[in-house]
């Protein structure tokens, strides 16, 4: 079939844009994005295409007694209706790590909104009406919604007959994974403590709330395969899960990345990928599926809600003695990334502090709540909320300044993590705290103006709830640690294909990876790396697809590190080949070809002393140099299942925040006045993009501090607020100024010394805001998000 409209094309940047790494070059896709021409997955269109619709369960836990599709099938305009019985192969489940997620429900539904049947029709309304005609008879089962109901002696099993690789070591089949970490002697250390503080903390279920809903277009191909245009975070992971279900070899499932409207972890799992392909293969027609916002809340995993039980001790001179903690993450009905979330939560539960004696346990539950998985900073975010609350409690109990108390216990390069792994790159935790504290404070009472109170600058904002009454300012601090890249022995690699040739007399580099550009600016950085390494101006970014090897996921703050590293590596290999050609063609003209260290700069081959040996265009005349190579970061190892010991992580990212809030203490409304951040980024490849990541991550942390939560009814396990009317994310009036102090301490193990940066600011933002609200109100506040009810005693 012909290519659909909206098929991504190569983007060449260079005639106006220059700049290698370290410069704030502009996005190559920027012009397309501001003119509305950039094609997102929901913008794809094909002549004669059908619309797919998914029927989802209306109950959380039930046996499916029967499904009757006859009336739906008989609807004019309907081309196909599919249920579990129509799946083409014996592979009927998928999953990132554990293949426990049914493509379509089989005999049972385990959460509210689980896909049950599919419809393809000639108009979305026809598809919706037909889906509504499918009769599903449910026999409801009791719902499992928390640790008590999941591990009760008579608890129903969310998944019976588990045979996954975690099944053997978990204490109960409704626990996906458990990771203990024990080190030192907590009992002895506890004896040394002069003060002990404990806390029970609750972290609500956050949604990624990316703006571009799940969508894609599946086009059947003449060879019996299918071509999927899709918004995802990891093309090859999707492919690996899809092909067996479709009954196709991987080379018959072509994947092209369409424009991605944000991700933040929510596109790490499959959503409508298999469904669209099934319908396209069944009907022989292109099928487009676009979730609306309501469906999107059911169509992707969320951030794990958590209960965190912490005990810390400290000596009276302010040194931490020990940590005992237990972190219970609710994974919901399917495993998704739960095992990795457990790994992060446990190994980073101590935070960026020196604590030698620890007794840690993290588990993820199977329940009938919505499935939870990847979201920016997973595992580490929940832990940071708890350990930073603990730090403030300890400082208060010791009568110490909270920042000084943290600095006194801050980890540094060489500190051992509770897993026994040494931190072998700069860990400027104390310095970040110093810097964020040193930033100038925002002026008081900014709402006052000559014309009275400007409500836009007050808690409640435009709603006109206060003109200054009840408003109290508070300041809070927090700092966090996030691992960068995939940990625990995962073979975390990326692939880059780089080509160099002469086009219209100019040397041009083409970079082709499968990296999912989800907004983070990876494509900008790839062009910068190619310019730096290959000395060219013009760089073409090839659309991401599965015609090149895997890039791994756009998650875990890893893409600039790993795919950036792969691009750099492939560029270096290309450079060697180019120089070989140069030596062959021109070596006899100048001895330096053979003797000097040669570089590519400004379109020329130059010696390290700066002498020009020739034009790249002449060297490459009639030649095309292309290299596709995989690149890996240093290997990691799994954590021991009993002790949690092991060199599980490859790199860390640190950020600190200072939040200044004003709270209307009578109404419980919060206005965040400023959220200052200091972060070590190793090396800012693109300073403008770095700021964008830090400010964006900070704001998502703000959201879960004061407003964002998916509310699940504990009696029915049904979602109560699946819409942007009731799941609130910060508007521009909720978001403060976010001054950023960027520190660049190179990590010698990473390309250019860079550090993954995307997640760390999401960690410390939330506890800093909570600390500031506590400071303003004097309340303990052990849960996030904090609601007006919690601030006014009306919960």
């Amino acid at each position: 079939m012909a290519s659909p409209s909206g098929t991504p094309t190569k983007i060449t940047q260079g005639s106006q844009t220059k700049g290698g790494i370290g410069e704030s070059t502009l996005r190559p896709d920027g012009t397309l994005k501001v003119t509305g021409e950039f094609a997102y997955s929901s913008d794809m269109w094909h002549e004669d295409m059908l619309w797919g619709q998914i029927l989802r369960s209306t109950v959380a836990h039930a046996e499916i007694v029967s499904i009757d599709t006859s009336e739906a099938l008989a609807t004019p305009g309907v081309y196909a209706v599919m249920t579990y019985d129509d799946l083409p192969t014996d592979v009927k489940n998928y999953g990132l790590e554990i293949q426990d997620t049914p493509v379509l429900a089989h005999g049972k539904v385990r959460h509210h909104g689980e896909p049950v049947a599919l419809v393809a029709a000639d108009h979305p309304e026809t598809a919706r009406r037909a889906a509504a005609k499918i009769k599903v008879d449910y026999r409801e089962l009791p719902v499992i919604t928390d640790e008590a109901s999941a591990t009760a002696p008579d608890a129903l099993l969310v998944h019976e007959n588990r045979d996954d690789h975690h099944a053997g070591h978990v204490p109960h089949p409704n626990i996906v994974h458990r990771q203990p970490i024990v080190r030192g002697d907590v009992a002895a250390a506890r004896e040394r403590a002069d003060v002990i503080v404990t806390g029970e903390y609750t972290f609500g279920m956050q949604d990624q709330a990316f703006l571009g809903p799940e969508s894609g277009l599946a086009v059947p191909e003449e060879d019996g395969g299918v071509h999927l245009y899709i918004a995802t975070q990891w093309l090859h992971s999707d492919l690996r899960q899809m092909a067996p279900v479709l009954g196709l070899p991987e080379d018959k499932v072509r994947m092209t990345l369409s424009g991605v409207g944000g991700a933040f972890g929510g596109r790490e799992d499959l959503s409508m990928q298999i469904h669209a392909c099934l319908l396209a293969l069944r009907t022989g027609k292109p099928v487009k599926i676009v979730y609306n916002r309501f469906e999107s809340f059911f169509g992707h995993v969320h951030r794990h809600p958590a209960k965190l039980y912490y005990e810390h001790g400290a000596t009276k001179d302010g040194k931490l003695t020990h940590l005992k903690c237990r972190i219970v993450l609710d994974g919901g009905a399917y495993a998704s990334a739960s095992p990795a979330v457990v790994g992060n939560a446990s190994s980073l539960s101590v935070g960026p502090y020196v604590v030698e004696d620890v007794d840690i346990e993290a588990i993820a539950l199977y329940t009938n709540n919505p499935p939870c998985g990847a979201m920016r900073g997973f595992g580490a975010v929940q832990a940071c909320f708890a350990y930073e609350a603990q730090m403030d409690k300890l400082a208060a109990k010791l009568g110490m300044d909270p920042v000084e108390f943290r600095r006194l216990n801050a980890m540094e390069q060489g500190t051992l993590l509770p897993t026994g792994q040494p931190v072998d790159s700069p860990a400027p935790v104390a310095e970040l705290l110093r810097r964020v504290k040193a930033m100038p404070m925002p002026p008081e009472r900014q709402w006052e103006s000559s014309e009275g109170a400007d409500v836009r600058q007050l808690p409640g904002g435009l709603s006109n709830t206060t003109h200054g009454e009840g408003v109290v300012r508070g300041v809070g601090y927090a700092v966090g640690i996030k691992n960068v890249g995939f940990s625990e022995g995962f073979d975390d690699y990326s692939t880059a294909k780089v080509r160099m040739e002469v086009v219209a007399g100019e040397p041009v580099a083409t970079v082709h990876t499968a990296m999912a550009e989800v907004g983070q600016g990876g494509v900008t950085v790839h062009a910068q790396i190619a310019r730096t390494e290959l000395g060219v101006t013009q760089v073409t970014i090839h659309p991401a697809d599965t015609q090149v090897g895997s890039a791994g996921s756009t998650s875990a703050s890893r893409q600039t590190y790993v795919t950036g590293g792969a691009v750099k590596n492939s560029c270096e290999l290309v450079r060697e080949k180019v120089l070989e050609i140069g030596r062959r063609k021109f070596g006899s003209y100048h001895p330096a070809w053979a003797t000097a260290e040669l570089l590519l700069e400004g379109g020329k081959v130059v010696t390290d002393a700066g002498e020009v040996l020739g034009d790249l265009a002449d060297v490459l005349e009639g030649e095309t140099v292309e290299v596709e190579a995989e690149w890996r970061h240093r290997p990691t190892e799994p954590f021991d299942l009993r002790t949690g010991q092991g060199n599980g992580h490859v790199q860390y990212s640190f950020a600190a925040h200072r939040a200044v809030v004003e709270v209307d203490t009578e109404l419980g409304l919060v206005k965040v006045i400023e959220l200052a951040c200091a972060q070590d980024v190793g090396k800012a490849l693109n300073p403008l993009s770095v700021l964008g990541q830090i400010q964006g991550g900070t704001t998502q942390g703000l959201g879960v501090a004061v407003m964002e939560e998916i509310v699940v009814d504990p009696k029915t396990a049904k979602v109560k607020n699946p819409s942007f009317t009731d799941y609130l994310i910060p508007t521009i009036l909720d978001t403060p100024t976010i001054p950023v102090d960027v520190l660049e301490l190179a990590d010698e193990h990473a390309p250019y010394g860079l550090r993954g940066i995307g997640e760390a600011p999401t960690l410390s933002s939330t506890p800093a805001v909570l600390a500031a609200i506590r400071a303003a109100t004097g309340l303990e506040l052990n849960r996030t998000p904090v609601r007006p009810e919690h601030l006014t005693g009306t919960a």
Partner: protein
């Protein structure tokens, strides 16, 4: 049902429109103008913002049948719209467009593969220059809303900017670079005057 209206200065006709369809759907799926985005379809995010007879509205909440005979400007037509305004032409969107101009928005984009060389409005260029674009899904709606605000209020305070853009959600940027972009566009426009 059939709906006739003007989009970016060009008369358009959409046929077989289902009565429940929104203006957004018609623009995106029937007229090949997917620049306006479908992020929430409940008026909460502003990604679908267009100008209807000059006024910024959420196109997801306008029934297609309601735009019969009316003028719509989308992000695809924003550069031309701003250009005409700068040249002293119709700025409200409520007046007709000559057939010469009607071709304009379609013909632009000197090289759609690079994007470079495309003529942009001040606000569009400012969004690129200030780093206000990440995933870009909120961008079209923000551009239409911000452009209209600057038309009404060429020297906005920060609070004015925040109020005017409070109906446009962005999940990537934390809004700081969007603030920078609007300030930059305001400064550039006042220099140009």
């Amino acid at each position: 049902m059939r709906v006739n209206f003007t989009v970016n200065g060009r008369p358009q006709e959409a046929d077989d429109v289902w009565e429940g369809e929104s203006l957004l759907y018609v623009l995106r799926e029937r007229l090949g103008l997917p620049g306006s985005k479908n992020a929430c379809e409940q008026g909460e995010c502003g990604s679908c913002t267009v100008r209807l007879d000059g006024v910024p509205v959420c196109s997801c909440l306008v029934a297609a049948g309601q735009v019969e005979g009316r003028e719509v400007v989308t992000v695809e037509g924003l550069a031309d719209f701003a250009k005409q305004r700068a040249e002293g032409g119709c700025a409200s969107g409520a007046c007709g467009t000559s057939s010469q101009n009607a071709q304009g928005w379609d013909a632009k984009g000197s090289d759609s593969q690079t994007g470079e060389g495309t003529e942009l409005s001040t606000i569009q260029q400012a969004f690129i220059d200030a780093g206000a674009v990440q995933c870009g899904f909120c961008t079209p709606g923000l551009l239409v809303a911000a452009d209209e605000m600057l038309e009404r209020n060429p020297n906005p305070s920060d609070a004015d900017i925040r109020e005017a853009l409070s109906g446009n959600l962005c999940r990537c940027t934390g809004y700081e670079k969007i603030m920078d972009a609007v300030r930059l566009a305001a400064a550039r426009q006042s220099e140009a005057v």
